[in-house]
């Protein structure tokens, strides 16, 4: 895992660039290409929750205006974003972390 806590640094370090961009209080949608049977087992989701607390990150958030993508493979971002009508606002960690917003309608 590229952001495993076994690296000797705090989990927060990887998510620090996102914090200034998450200034509101509304829930944020969460996207990942990590496969897990239960949300508890997603290291990416749980670490993002911890690092960005008290911001609520929701796996099922159809109405969210803002989304966080935390990816194993940066190449999966366009597919995940297009499926939900999202576009990237900012990308970090070599494309593995991205903040997305809803694409303006036609």
């Amino acid at each position: 895992m590229p952001h495993s806590p076994r690296e000797g640094r705090r989990i927060d370090a990887r998510y620090a660039p996102l914090r200034p961009l998450l200034t509101g209080s509304e829930p944020v949608g969460f996207l990942t290409d990590e496969r897990f049977p239960h949300a508890l087992e997603s290291e990416r989701y749980t670490q993002a929750l911890y690092a960005l607390a008290p911001r609520q990150l929701l796996l099922d958030a159809p109405d969210a205006g803002l989304w966080l993508a935390d990816l194993l493979d940066p190449a999966s971002l366009p597919k995940l974003a297009n499926a939900r009508g999202l576009e990237p606002m900012a990308v970090f960690d070599d494309g593995r972390l991205a903040l997305l917003r809803r694409r303006p309608g036609p």
């Binding site: 806590p5 076994r6 690296e7 000797g8 640094r9 705090r10 989990i11 209080s25 829930p27 049977p37 239960h38 949300a39 508890l40 087992e41 290291e43 989701y45 749980t46 670490q47 929750l49 911890y50 607390a53 008290p54 609520q56 990150l57 929701l58």
Partner: protein, 367 residues
Amino acid sequence: MNGPRVSKGMLALFLFAGAVAVVIFVQRSLAAPDGGWDAWMIWNLRARWLLHAPSFAEAFPAALPVTHPDYPILLPTLVALGWWVAGHESAAVPVAWAAVFALLYVGLTVLALARQRGWAWGLTAGTLLLSAPMFVWCSADQCADIPLGVFLLAGAVAVIEASGEEGRRRAWLHMGAGLALSLAALTKNEGLVYLITGLAAVLLIGKGQRWRDALWLSLGALPGLMLLGWFKLRYAPPGEYGGSAALAMLVDPARWLLVSVHVLRRFVYFQGWTLLLVLVPAGFWFGLRNQAQPGVRRVALGMLGALGLLAASYLVTPYDAVWQIDNSFDRILLQCLATLLLILFVSVPGGARLGRAPESVVHSSPS
């Protein structure tokens, strides 16, 4: 204190095990300053919510059941308090609490046994705990199971000590046991199970004073239980257990088989426990047969009841049962281990054979 004398080898072994445990604790804490999965996912996460949520009520979002917003908040409160005092979210705060509770876990075991049967037994138990990989790993991972184990042990010590007392001291000790067990309930949900089964055991075992002992224990637990009730009823969202699905799982023979096999599998998890798990059935065996100390029998019965109920909870878990057993059963055993060592070592016959000859024998020898 009575009992066999401590040999230099025994003391050296205890100190060596302690030094190795400290080195591993420091190494793991440096490698993972946020602790293990439970620490960042449950306890330290909640501490952050307590510190930063716009209001206390918003620190327990029902929309995020994955973060277990219904879990008791003693440990997150301690961490949040430390961060508030420090002025920033230093990783050292939860690490320091983990170290304090690990020290208490071993220290209280050693002292309680030293008082009951002498230092040799105390140091032997301490060495066994320190040499359990699961104990050292969980301590560094900042698991709440160690603090829970400390409160459980404190309650057990008070119940055992009380059984040899009368009058006001007996009442105070039972109140202390109630207080300790209520702190366990404020630490993790399992703590409430230990409190209930402990109270039931006090009512079932002993002569004459059962109801009075139970009353004092309940009074000691009352403040903590009121706090827990206030949190659970006012702020905590409903837990994930229960419902009609749980009832269906409870009467499913295939599920009983699955859970039984996987719970028993944890008893041969050699890499986490070495041979220590042999002491679990031994603790119950000797503890339940300890006719001289009804307090020990009460603790043994209470622990047995709690372990049975906690194992049965896997039948109705909303999660994958195997995944949950693999991820939690060893920590449940860790909660109990120090207390089981205590009841085993105060009950096992032949104390004089441990370490050197008893002091009385040494003193009577010509010098």
